[in-house]
Symmetry: C2
Subunit: 454 residues, 2 copies
């Protein structure tokens, strides 16, 4: 039992110490933390996020050590994790790990921050917990495979284990306790893509659920509550129920030597990541050939099957959020504005010009792109111009990927833009909080990020 | 969209009124309520239940209108539903619906009671909500089918929708809101059988999660939070992800004419329901032939595949709870004591004599029993005696099934036994509470069931 893949992964998460983590991994984790903070603040004012936060306030205590970022209220760790996780995913600007198609930040940091604030953990403990959460969640996502992602929102499912690993690290769970926490987290693992078909609010519920259920699982394990020993690869475990191509070897791939955390990509466009490679490829072909939107007659995006599965149902997006899952809308905005940010979606997703461009875009399955996915997200487009030319665009790493990453200045600027968009914090508040976050490895005790800033 | 099976089921749950429900269905629902109350009180002192309740207390408010039954504390509806649902399933004495292999009471009543106490609903509203929860949960379980149950604990998965229907009924959700509540509940649907392999505590987590997540989904829908329109039968919904033999016609089977609530069985033995038909068949053959345990050389139980799937992994049970999933242990206790109740499991599951009998019992797949399952749970055993006889035992309806049901006196006595076992309430407290529950249809406002009883 103790050498099963689940047991090895749990032992790794439980045993991870700050001094074991290479410095570049720590620096990247700080980047991811600041990037996440901006996304969390960006959730303010979003109807589904506010509704979930109202629910948490109505069912939780009226005070506590953990901070609800969008309204600066305090609650128990459980509800703060729930509310902050709901907030972090709605702008579609939070990070993503390509190989697992998993968004780590939105489930890992809400659980880690809430638990760290509750326990009075140090910054180094918080960073260590975040790395544990990223390494576990990414491997679980890779393990569950492409068949899983066709129906399940991996961030919701693998997210419960990622959040459990992060919270469990801060609670100081031993290897056996961490394995029990994984069992409890995995058996609460949930999240279906069906909501996309009617543009429903479930994506925020999935992250809220994953962060809260994962944190709960870690707390229960500390108190002796047991879970399945092999919730991931067991014959009636997650893979048995929710995947047809799961590979247990992925669970332990390079533990302690391969740092999956640094493979995580930042999102540049405010849309579903599946649209980014094609968007960057279209930008490239338009810049190289000096095209304007009026030059576009037809745009064929050559994509992997996962893009068709997730984006295919979205033909005529009815809401801003749904439009972020419309390949045509994203490319229409990129063609018009050179990027597809929160403001562009919010104000222009239904413009006549955007809609006209949207309807010129089609997706076609591409063998090379599909074979490279999910490890590499290649962008390929074929543009037919109104004057009859056929032009090819291609990017091998979309902006924000590890080989084409964002600088700390770009990350800081992005967080400021997100806060300005939502009104969740003033520029001065953001500057103060971000400065503290860049120095978090020196913090002896994590307090509120926006303390006294109301 | 409005004529989809999910939409029809949601409209039924939202539109159900007390006066629409035939009187025998109401009376049966009162039976189920009293039977559930005994099971909830029986959870007191159980380590996993106490641990979950401690978690709820640590993360929830210190007061509220909803009652946590095992410790008479008060909390918000969310945490009371979570704690009471954890408590109701641990004694394995709560009710079951055969056709869906779904335990309705443990998820429906905790959500309904917590919401009714919070809203100050009437007894008639509570009973109506319970019927809505039973009718929905049972149909969802039937819809998900046998393939689902091989890996998933249907009470955890279908339970989220059952709890949402009950809570949503009390909240007065309209049909569209109820459909959104179903979407949010279904996308949080979870629960894997893997925990049985190591006798872990997850069963209590599954019911706690289902009741809390379902109640949450109803509250969110009231506040405008949307869910998938076809979370059950949609191409990326529950069936797509978690079943290979789902039948959407089951979702709307006889809505308003067939009352699935009255098909629910009470549990007589304190073990997994899959053991009951064989236990009753063994009792029958022993009584008819006046056998003693010493006469038993070998007992072949002729069972359905689901029994083998769930009970097969349990060869040498290490805990009281696991022993309730051991066909051999259950039959050993029945042979020794004439029944397998909480006391028998607690004090005798590891006796030498029980273990010796356990090892004489085998399961064999039986074509007739398997074909009748899950609508009918036939019990068939072949006993070889030490003096060389081969004897057959058979029951067509195990004790507690609708055709072989418990009287109100038997239900009351069972609840008293459960409370006496756990020490969760005194005999006088139970008598007072049960008397009030039998008269609940006349209650203008649901208050605490154990008020002033501490």
């Amino acid at each position: 039992m103790n050498t099963s893949p689940t047991a090895q992964l749990a032992a790794f998460a439980a045993g991870l110490r700050f001094d074991d983590i290479p410095t570049p991994v720590i620096r990247k984790t700080e980047d991811l933390l600041v990037d996440w903070f901006g996304s969390a603040i960006a959730g303010k004012g979003s109807r589904p996020v506010e509704t979930l936060t109202k629910f948490a306030a109505s069912m939780g205590p009226s005070d506590g050590a953990a901070e609800v970022l969008i309204d600066r209220s305090r609650s128990s760790a459980y509800f703060a994790a729930m509310a902050n996780a709901a907030a972090s995913h709605v702008a579609e600007q939070d990070d993503v790990h390509n190989g697992s198609v998993f968004h780590p930040a939105t489930v890992v940091f809400p659980a880690a921050l809430a638990m760290a604030q509750t326990l009075g953990s140090s910054g180094q403990q918080l960073l260590t917990a975040a790395v544990a959460g990223y390494e576990v969640g990414i491997r679980v996502g890779e393990f569950l495979g492409r068949s899983h992602y066709k129906v399940f929102h991996t961030t919701g499912t693998a997210g419960t284990l990622a959040a459990a690993a992060a919270a469990g690290s801060l609670l100081g769970l031993n290897a056996a306790q961490m394995q029990h926490a994984f069992g409890s987290a995995g058996t609460q693992s949930a999240g279906l893509w069906e909501f996309l078909r009617t543009a429903a609010d479930s994506k925020q519920l999935h992250t809220a659920h994953a962060a809260a259920a994962g944190l709960m699982s870690a707390c229960l394990a500390r108190d002796g509550f047991t879970g399945a020993a092999q919730i991931l690869e067991g014959p009636q475990g997650m893979a048995a129920g929710m995947s047809s191509d799961a590979d247990p070897a992925k669970l332990t791939d390079g533990l302690g030597t391969r740092w999956a955390t640094v493979e995580t990509s930042f999102k540049y466009h405010a849309s579903c990541r599946h649209t980014h490679p094609a968007a960057d490829a279209l930008l490239q072909v338009m810049q190289v050939n000096q095209l304007t939107p009026a030059d576009l007659e037809r745009v064929v995006t050559h994509v992997h099957q996962g893009a068709i599965d997730v984006l295919g149902p979205v033909v005529n997006p009815a809401t801003v959020h749904q439009s972020k899952f419309s390949m045509g809308t994203v490319l229409g905005l990129v063609a018009r504005f050179g990027h597809a940010g929160l403001v562009e979606f919010d104000q222009h997703f239904q413009d006549d010009l955007t809609v006209a461009l949207r309807d010129k875009v089609v997706m076609e399955l591409d063998a090379e792109v599909d074979a490279a996915y999910p490890r590499r997200w290649i962008g390929k487009v074929t543009v037919t111009t109104t004057d009859g030319r056929t032009l090819q665009g291609r990017v091998d790493e979309p902006k924000g990927d590890p080989g084409n990453t964002l600088s700390r200045d770009e990350i800081t600027a992005k967080a400021h833009r997100l806060a300005a968009f939502s009104g969740g914090a003033s520029e001065a508040e953001m500057a103060r909080a971000i400065k503290a976050l860049w120095a978090i490895a020196q913090s002896p005790r994590i307090g509120p990020l926006l303390a006294g800033a109301a």
